[in-house]
Each structure stands twice: as structure tokens, then as C-alpha cells.
Symmetry: C2
Subunit: 404 residues, 2 copies
Amino acid sequence: MNLLVGQSGGPTAAINASLAGVIKAGLDSKEIGKVYGTVNGIDGVLNDELVDLEKFRDEKLLKLLIQTPSSYLGSCRHKLPNLDEGRETYEKIEEIFKKYDIGYFLYIGGNDSMDTVDKLSKYFAEKKSDIRVVGVPKTIDNDLCQTDHTPGFGSAAKFVANTARQLAFDTKVYGTTKSVIVLEIMGRNAGWLTAAASLANNENIKAVDAVCLPETVFDKEKFLSKVDGVMKEKNFSIIAVSEGIKDSEGNYIGENKTATRKDGFAHAALGGVGKTVESWISQGLGLKTRSIELSTLQRCFSVGASKCDLDEAFEAGHKGVELVLSGETAIMIGFNRISDEPYKIDIVPYKVSEIANGEKTIPIDMISPDGMEMNENFIKYARPLICGEPDISYTDGTIDFVTR
Amino acid sequence: MNLLVGQSGGPTAAINASLAGVIKAGLDSKEIGKVYGTVNGIDGVLNDELVDLEKFRDEKLLKLLIQTPSSYLGSCRHKLPNLDEGRETYEKIEEIFKKYDIGYFLYIGGNDSMDTVDKLSKYFAEKKSDIRVVGVPKTIDNDLCQTDHTPGFGSAAKFVANTARQLAFDTKVYGTTKSVIVLEIMGRNAGWLTAAASLANNENIKAVDAVCLPETVFDKEKFLSKVDGVMKEKNFSIIAVSEGIKDSEGNYIGENKTATRKDGFAHAALGGVGKTVESWISQGLGLKTRSIELSTLQRCFSVGASKCDLDEAFEAGHKGVELVLSGETAIMIGFNRISDEPYKIDIVPYKVSEIANGEKTIPIDMISPDGMEMNENFIKYARPLICGEPDISYTDGTIDFVTR
């Protein structure tokens, strides 16, 4: 029996580390024949576009894969039809699986991809097939249910925190000119990555003074009053704003009513909240304000990644293969936190049906009473995830990588 | 006699390395009593705000200073009046210099700051004063005359190149969806930093397919035709666009006619060119297009800096002190390139009067015939400047620094 692995959804800096973990465990296993990758997620199965991953027996290449930005196998945003509505899609997948003698399918992705794992494993169960399907999580949004956190979040969080810290130094250089940076950060309904900007602060610098989260109602007056108070005491401030903040009526602040760009899962593409908040601060408070949209940089930066994140991502992929071989199916690999200090987790299986299409937002006990700062509970939770610097290789100044 | 050092203009990732070089040479010299820093450039002199830099005898602290983002001493954008129009400003500076027994003044900055060095050294010469003034260059724009290149450019160029490479990987993941990124890069009249995006390319990936420089006329039709041709062959492309591109009539493409933000030197603040070019591509060619403005990230990122740049910046500062002690004044430290392979430079003095207020743009022999790509001459020139990775220290995932 052979193993197939795929990657789906938006890339992260750690998604190839999980792929490397799957490949390593697959190639090392005597029970597995070949290790195949599907190009562009489930689309590669439907298009009969599988690649043999044998070349990664070369340990140097496997190490390069870990630091390669984005998704080595390509990605897709393909929502499978419901079982009772689109059986021909499932039959096509089953046919390709038979053609390549696939017994194990590992899918690396976020909540939408876990929906694919859930549906596929249900289909195979219903058909009494032996094919087993396991999900390996990734998302910079950190919004998957059950698991303590998600591979990809740590590196994105580290990028956001170090960006906020460095921007704070850049912003405070002109002594007498008060200046505010509005940092627009990804996260539609969960503010984990926006909250991570707080990790820029330590006892020697308060870089980030406010975080605006989708979990709380954005109250323009309260917000401007907070910024006003902060800027009476300081000459600079970084304000971290999630793309998904909403007003008291539930309308996205950043929503462009005329936007037509939608992804395959019909989420409205957000943007523009940074510029909106920038204009409120500059006009409402008369402060020099600049908004910066981190855009896709926050999900593809392997330069400055978190070693904790890359290591865990690799282990999650590896564990996925171990568990699929032990007979598990319809699960997602997750992290169960044992302790904060010292930081310790167990890598465990969760039922994918309890994760697919769910969303985990920030609990209220991690947020300050005014709703605009992260408290110690959050810092304790998030700090370990950004720790450690991986050994990244460069040639003549640019990051090394491996391509298909 | 004591030494005074200041930093001016927009920060870079290497400006503190030059400061560290000045401090190290100053503290090590037996001819120099105290080493002072002026807070916020020449403003700190006028406001009598000098700090003693004695603490940097601690080598650990000096090493931290090198990696600290932005300008440790703060900055200003203060253009000194002409000598015949504002003598009281110069007299005030002289008074403070006397108060602190300053015999040597080193000013780290770009072309506007070299104007300060020029004027001050002329004032002291005219007064037959022994006070000597030396400029140490910095600018991410790389637009200072005479010198082969400028400290700060290498690290910014490396950030741009690695950003473009990583974005290329992020952009190409969706196999069938063709997608273009417009990367808006700083550089008002000189396109060096925009050109540096080309360093993202190597024999295994062509990340950047076009660069739009202020040195060439931006011809919308020719540009769209080029992008169209590229996207017939590929499914992704990064287009690097300088904030300072102009049409055939010399109008900035990105100029916001209603913008009121101007810096102290009366340059119009540019912005918006990325969005403009994005809309031309998406509407003109019907391609999925996203513009990303690198904004101030490109000048403050110490994470991922160039070791060549930080080392040279340190040496430039150090050499500045050596030369000021040997009797030099009215000079700027610069780099004279001896060879490309192996890369070798000499650190030499240039007359600051020949540099102040000048601007060095990209020579035509580094640009492709169509004006939209960089050729081998540029790569040979720029590649060595981004090489090497400095040993950056972190605590719990965020970059270490030192503050005043």
C-alpha cells in the first residue's frame, strides 16, 4: 500500500515542515511502499497529477524542504460536495486511489481542509474501504478547534511580533513628532495573530498599545479615546488591527461593499480596515498616522520563523503517519498542552468531525477588561510558540529552497 | 577633546552598526576624552540634549547595538539654514560644542545629512575653528554620489529580495489561478532598492519578471504588454514598482494630488502607485492582482539583515573616527570597489561638498534594453552587498535590542 499526502488552503511558513514529517515517516516505514504527493491538493487527485516523493530520502533535500516557504506541493481551495450530492467526485477520487494503490491519505490544511478529511473518511467508511484519511493541521489563524494551537501560527505570530517591535523602533526616532502605526493583520473571525503583536512588548519597550480583535465589538469612540490617552504619554504607538473587526451591528469595518474578490469557500475577501482606522486616528486625533497591511508576508516568511513551530509541524506530520499506520482514520493530529512553564505538549489525535468547519476564537479570559489589550494569560499561552530560531540556509544572501 | 556622534534622516538596519563603529573607535582612542551622542540628530545639539555613551565599553552591549533596529540616538529631518541667512543657528551649535569640549563631530545620515556636514564644516573653517566634521553615510536608497554603495542599502536590498522570493512561492501555489503581485518599494528618484528585487531570481526560480524604475519613463502600454507576455508563460509573477515612477511628462504615477504629508525637506510624500498599477493589471489584463506596499518594513528589518552591510557599516563608522583624528574634515566616508569577484572594497574619504544634495541613480548599462529588467551588470554589483547572515540574538522569540 502507498501513502498520499497533499497540502491545501493558504500557505504558512510551517506547512512544508509538516510535509517533511509525513514524507520522512512514510519513507522510513516498511509498511508503506511509495510516498506520493498530490499537486494542488485534492485537485491533483481529481486531475491524476501525483508526484513520487522518493527524492526526499536525501536528508539534505528534506532539510531544505522544511525551510522552503509556502506549499511545496501547491494548494487549492476546493470544497468537496456533500456526499449525497456529488458521489461522482468521490468515485473519481477512489478510482485514482486504486490506480496508485493508495491506502493512506494525509491532508495538511486548515478547517476547510479538515472538511475534506471528514467527508472523504466518511465516504470510505461507508464503502467499507480500508483507505484511511488523516488531517494534519496548519493555519496562521490558529482557529482550529480542539488542538491547543496550530502549526504555522507560531511562525506567523513571530513575524508579526518582530515586525511590530522593529516598527516601534522605526516609529519612535523623531523625538517631537508623535506618530502612530496601524498594523493590519490577517484573521477573519479569530484574532490570535493580531493578538500576537503584543509579544513585541517587554519590560524595556511597550511597542503595541492596543489590539483590535474580531472577538470584541469595535467601538470607535472608546478606541480613539484609548489611543488619545496613550499618545498623551508616548510619542509613538503601534496599534494592531485585525482585518475582521466588526462594529456593534456586526458589520466588518474593513468591508469593501463593492469588492467582488471571493475565495472558493465564499468568504468575502476583506481589506482596507487599516486605511479606515488610520483616517480615524489622523482626522479624529490630529496625529501623524500610517497604516501598514502585512498582507501575505505574514504567512510566507520563513526568514525569522519559529523553531518551536517548525519542529512541532514536522512532528505533527510524522505522528500523522504513525497513527494512520496504527489504524486510525477520520482524525486530525493536534496538540494537547501539558504545561506552560516548562512548555510541554503531547501530540494526540482528535476526531476530525469535531473540528471540520469549526472555529476557535480567543477566550475572554485572555483579553483585558477594556477589550483592547492582551493579558498575561495570552502571553503565557503564545510566548512559547514563537521561541527558537531555526538554522536557515542561504546562498549569496537569499533563502534556499527546493521546488518540484 | 571629546567626540560627538549623531544620526539623522530615515533609519536603516545598519545605522546603529555605524554608530557602534564610531563609539568603538572613539572609546578606544587615547586622543578622545568622552564620546557623546546627540539625541535626535542636530536637534539634540540645539536643545542641549547630549548623552554619554560610556556604557558601550561593555562589548556585549556594543554587539546588541549593532543589531538594534532603527536609530539608537533618535533622528531628525532638520535642514540647516544657509550660512549667510541663519548664523545664530551655527553660533548656537558652536556654543554647545564648546560647552562639551567637542573637537570631532561625526554625523551618520543620507544626502540631506551630508548637507549638514558640508555647511557645518564650512562654518568652522570660516571661523578658523579646529572642530572637524565628518559624515558617515547611510540610506536604503543607495543614492549617495561618489561612494560605490551606501551602508543600509545591503540589508534593505536583502529584505526586498527575500520578500520577493518568498512572495513568489506564496503566489504560485494555486496551479490554475494566474496571479500577480505588485510590490511597491521605496525610492523617490533612484531605483536601486526596487532593482534589488531582481536578486530574488536564480536559476531555479524567476520570481521577479519586471522592475519599474524612476530612472526610466513608465509607459503603461509597454508595461501591460510585458506583463501580458510573461503571464502567458507563467501562472505567477512579482512586479517590483518604485514609488517614484513617472510618466513621459515627468508626473509621478503614485502622486496623490491632495496629499499634504511632506517631510522637513519639502519632498512630496509619495504612495499609492502600487494600487494604481494593480488596478491597471487587473482591469487591463483581467488577472488576479494584489499590491503590497513594503512601507517602513524595508528600512527597519534587522531580522534577516546582510552581514556584509552591517560589517561595512561598522567599519565606515570606525574609519570616520580614524580619519577625523588624522586631521580630516569636510569629508564623507565612502566605499571604493576594487573588484566584484572576489568582492573587495577600500574605505576612503570623499569631499562632502561633492556629495551633499546630489543623487546617484542607476546607470543605463545596468538596465535591460526594454527598461524593465536588471541585467548582469546590476546583479554583479548588488549581489555581494546582501551576502552573509549576521548572528542575531533573540530572547523568547523576539529580537534583542538596547535603548537609551
